[in-house]
Symmetry: C2
């Protein structure tokens, strides 16, 4: 524990730190619609993306969600949004489960293509300030949706101030290259390994 009498030294050190930080932050003046990627094997990719959607809702900003693969998850967020905030956030669940749940590639591809068509429509609508493409990385990985087409659309057709968030493991390099903000959620320790099952309020 620090002694009270080092308070002055601390204040001086922190004043310097603040001055340096303020100077850096003063150079950050631009605004733009970001392409945000949440990837990696850890948890929190979709959860943090939904957290940003709730921020947009909190600020009264219009936003939209398209779920590409896992229709069965994020049901809590979906219920909450549909019950309370349907006027601010349009919600589309276009997939029915992971590909190993459906076992029908043709149908999965059709659904992924339909989800991508809906995503383009929502992104092109300038009244949406953020569009979340949840688990699109899985659809891209299995080539259910073509990454070149997605990159071209985001680069050329996205309104400049619209944020687009994409989630899922194994983000393709082309998308990472294009993105402004990329976070990799890394798994350090997971309760499944200790025999703990998925629990309400944590996993869904």
């Amino acid at each position: 524990m620090a002694e009270p009498d080092d308070n002055d030294r601390h204040a001086e050190k922190m004043a310097k730190k603040k001055a340096a930080r303020d100077k850096i932050m003063a150079t950050k003046t631009d605004e733009k619609g970001l392409i945000i990627v949440h990837t990696g094997k850890g948890k929190g990719k979709s959860t943090a993306a939904f957290g940003m959607i709730f921020r947009h809702i909190a600020h009264g900003r219009k936003c939209a969600v398209v779920q590409f693969i896992k229709g069965g998850m994020q049901t809590g967020e979906r219920d909450l949004i549909e019950r309370h905030f349907a006027d601010l956030c349009e919600f589309h669940t276009m997939g029915e489960g992971f590909t190993w749940e459906t076992q029908d590639k043709r149908r999965d591809m059709e659904m992924a293509q339909a989800a991508w068509a809906k995503a383009k429509e929502l992104i092109a609508d300038p009244s949406n300030t953020m569009v979340l493409l949840d688990e699109i990385n899985i659809a891209l990985r299995y080539d259910y949706v073509d990454v070149g087409e997605v990159v071209a659309f985001l680069r050329d057709a996205k309104p400049p101030m619209t944020h687009v968030v994409v989630t899922g493991r194994n983000a393709k390099d082309e998308l990472v290259d294009l993105a402004d903000l990329v976070t990799e959620m890394e798994l350090v320790k997971h309760p499944f390994r200790a025999g703990i099952k998925a629990q309400i309020g944590v996993e869904w």
Copy 2:
């Protein structure tokens, strides 16, 4: 793009994958209140934690938030919770900024101690199913709160079914050792580097 005629082969492969996965998942039968750590230099630590709080709210489960350091951030989530869900989620902001903003170590320590006292009270209340200790890692790092005391309390006094989420960079090893679920948010690419400032709905 896959040809439709490989649909049968795909179905067979995925059926095997599903069987293997179902077998593993069948061994995950336990439930317990988890200690969850979000750390690392990347974004999404607090955002994903608030996402879990919104899940609890969505399921009508009581929960609580104590913000240890950054009172100025997460204002969107705070507004949304206080306006719509105050009956389900108690919200306490006990810190006023980062330590380099306040420059007053004595006061920061007092505030961190008060936040920890409130946290203990909320965790001990078994009606709360999740308690979020937002940015407590910063208070622990500066020894404003003693990590040994936190670990002992979470290990010995936390009701068994209560989830506790701790966030912030530089999680202490003692807390990582105790935790059930640890995710490190890793920074891959950040728009500040390209001169883009913190933006509404993304950073707060």
